[in-house]
């Protein structure tokens, strides 16, 4: 079992890892679950319709056949109690991985996450561990409407004791999920629903990617684009658009929001002097608000221009596909923001 350093997975994985395969993002996640379940009998899955139905998005499809109903446990619609049960099991050394069908439903489990899971370690010290993973399908883009499209990760950044992970590629999804499962802390693991459909190359064999290390997607000297999850892919596209105009953008995929690899971001900003922060969540109090302040705290003297944010505006996600498409940040918006900075 090797730990792949961030540098090996960054850039073109096919170059770093000679043998690679193409899989769907969902399959990469499933591989992580299956490998960890084979490796450690304490790992089990809990969630609504993850077994017989095969998972709302198919991530767990087929796992019931291999691992049986004790380890792939379909639960009633009882988010509060089911996350609480996972906390209880985790304290005793089990490693439950809970699927919340839509991230929007974590609202029902907030007491367990915020007042219990996140507090055990601090209150009871080293005698307590809560190795729990909460898998959260998040984000808009599929016309699921206001209550099934939210990106709520910023809430969890405000809760010490929780880790927050948000992969952008299939390769990262697998490696980061494996690390999340092995982590002794409660981890909120964000899976973007639009990314589920993407088919990408991932390294052959078992590998884990450490939590808390950002990935430099591409190098550039004029402006830094910082993003995570689906927006890291949009930022990557924006960099291509900008390159066509002669603007050299460096893209940083954060991968993990808590702990935050601010060092990699600051290093890049020190070089470029300009930064665009991107997130799919709403603007006020979002992840970018925190990242922006940290950049200012660590590197204000490197900034040649104001920090820019590209986010969903402060509104709920509307159902009508035309409206929905108009609010989610896209590559063109990111490129426009970067262009405006470079021109200043």
């Amino acid at each position: 079992m090797m730990e792949v350093a961030a540098s090996e997975v960054r850039g073109a994985p096919e170059a770093a890892v000679p043998r690679a395969r193409e899989v769907y993002f969902t399959e990469a996640l499933q591989e992580a679950l299956a490998e960890e379940m084979r490796r450690d009998p304490e790992v089990f899955l809990l969630g609504e319709d993850i077994g017989v139905y095969g998972g709302c998005f198919g991530v767990t499809r087929g796992l019931l056949a291999e691992f049986g109903p004790e380890r792939v446990r379909d639960t009633p619609i009882s988010e509060a109690a089911l996350v609480g049960m996972a906390v209880g099991a985790a304290i005793l050394g089990a490693r439950p991985v809970v699927e919340v069908m839509f991230m929007d439903f974590v609202t029902l489990a907030m007491d367990q996450l915020v007042n219990h899971a996140a507090k055990f370690r601090y209150v009871y010290g080293e005698q307590a561990r809560v190795p729990l993973v909460l898998r959260c399908p998040a984000g808009a883009g599929r016309a699921y409407g206001a209550t099934h499209s939210q990106s709520l990760e910023a809430w969890f950044l405000h809760v010490p004791g929780l880790k927050v992970v948000a992969p952008a590629t299939a390769a990262d999804a697998k490696g980061l999920l494996k690390s999340a499962i092995r982590d002794d802390n409660p981890v909120i693991f964000i899976e973007n629903k639009v990314l589920y459909q993407s088919r990408e190359r991932i390294p052959e064999g078992e590998y884990a990617i450490p939590l808390g290390q950002a990935r430099r997607v591409c190098e550039g000297g004029d402006v830094t684009l910082v993003a995570y999850s689906r927006m890291a892919r949009e930022a990557e596209r924006a960099a291509v658009l900008l390159a066509e105009e002669g603007v050299s953008a460096e893209v940083i995929d954060l991968r993990t929001l808590a702990p935050l690899d601010i060092g990699t971001v600051v290093e890049s900003v020190a070089k470029t002097g300009r930064v665009v922060l991107v997130e799919e969540g709403t603007r006020t109090g979002g992840a970018c608000a925190e990242i922006g302040v940290q950049i200012f705290e660590h590197a204000w003297d490197s900034l040649d221009a104001p920090i820019r944010r590209v986010t969903t505006p402060d509104i709920p996600i509307p159902f009508a596909p035309e409206l929905e498409a108009a609010v989610i940040p896209a590559a063109a918006d990111i490129a426009a923001a970067a262009r405006a900075l470079v021109e200043t």
């Binding site: 379909d74 699921y144 206001a146 820019r308 505006p313 509307p318 159902f319 009508a320 035309e322 108009a326």
Partner: protein
């Protein structure tokens, strides 16, 4: 039997079925996006219950709400337009299939978070009592929703304070792909009334008369201060949970058998003809009217425009917030 009532039953059940078939078609053609939860097979529940309601009673439902809106009398055109995300939809295209509403008919919405509306319904009932009127509230949900905390918290308070609310559980044997036997420690949902000392009733949800009578009884209780009722209608959905459901959890034959032996529309038709309450020609005419209503709704929806870009920033707050959406760097596609 009351001819008017029978006509209403037959017309509405047919209307709902045809409406749902049309929306399934629109979904298949990509004209409806996101989720679509069809009500086919369960028509007798909404039609029977709504017929028992007074015009000023309140209604709240889960996301499987198209049939409920139609049974409550909402114009099918704006309902279909909502499914297509059009400006003329009941929620102006911003809600979608799971978030229909019709405040004029005191239909306070479809709710997409399982069980989330049960405390809200209880609150409306509380307000009705507080305001000293005899209006009642019907809250509709599935078997799966009885496992969520809000169900239990709401039932307790409703019973404790004898609030005029009917908790109407559509037990269609599945919550998504999970059979009720795999999700609930008791499989008769009505048993869950016992813990709260609440009246519990069960009825055949495939029989519109049974639902109608059971709802009347529960409403009577609500209006006379006897408090809430947990009313369980045993029913069945013919289609998948949503259009995305691969239906790996049940046999095709199970669905076929219920369709053939317990179809709510056929049960009603047979009873009407047996008792010669309406003629076959009258039934045919009602069917044609339902077909025409659905065709007109579909036309209306297709011809309607999508919501205008300004709709994005409307109604975030009761009063508009100046500058909302104009922040630098926030997505400005709507301005382009």
């Amino acid at each position: 039997m009351d001819r008017k009532l029978l006509q209403r039953f037959f017309y509405q059940m047919k209307l709902i079925r045809l409406f749902e078939e049309k929306s399934a078609e629109f979904y298949a053609y990509g004209k409806i996006g996101g989720f679509l939860h069809l009500y086919i097979g369960e028509e007798a529940v909404a039609v029977g219950a709504c017929a028992a309601l007074r015009d000023d009673d309140h209604l709240l439902t889960h996301y499987r709400d198209h049939g409920w809106a139609l049974a409550r009398g909402t114009d099918p055109g704006p309902v279909m337009a909502e499914l297509l995300g059009k400006a003329t939809g009941v929620s102006k295209g911003k809600g979608g299939s799971m978030h229909l509403c019709d405040p004029e008919r005191h239909f306070w919405g479809g709710y997409a978070i399982v069980g989330g509306h049960l405390p809200i319904a209880t609150g409306i009932a509380f307000a009705m009592r507080y305001q000293g009127n005899d209006r009642a509230v019907v809250a509709v949900f599935g078997d799966g929703a009885t496992n969520i905390g809000e169900f239990h918290e709401a039932l307790n308070m409703a019973a404790l304070w004898k609030l005029p609310v009917i908790f109407l559980c559509e037990n269609n044997l599945y919550g998504m792909g999970t059979a009720v036997t795999r999700a609930s420690a008791v499989t008769d949902m009505v048993q869950k009334a016992c813990a709260y000392g609440m009246a519990g009733e069960q009825c055949d949800g495939m029989n519109v008369f049974a639902v109608y009578e059971a709802t009347q009884k529960a409403l009577q209780r609500a209006r006379t201060g006897e408090g809430p009722t947990l009313l369980e209608a045993k029913t069945y959905r013919y289609r998948g949970h949503s259009m995305a459901d691969p239906e790996l959890y049940r046999q095709r034959q199970e669905v076929e058998k219920i369709r053939e032996q317990h179809d709510p529309i056929e049960i009603l038709r047979e009873r009407i003809l047996e008792e010669k309450a309406l003629t076959p020609e009258e039934l045919e005419r009602l069917e044609r009217e339902a077909e025409e209503a659905v065709a007109a709704a579909a036309r209306f929806a297709e011809e309607s425009p999508p919501p205008p870009p300004e709709a994005l920033f409307a109604d975030v707050y009761a009063q508009p917030i100046p500058g909302l959406g104009l922040e630098e760097g926030s997505r400005d596609a709507w301005q382009r």
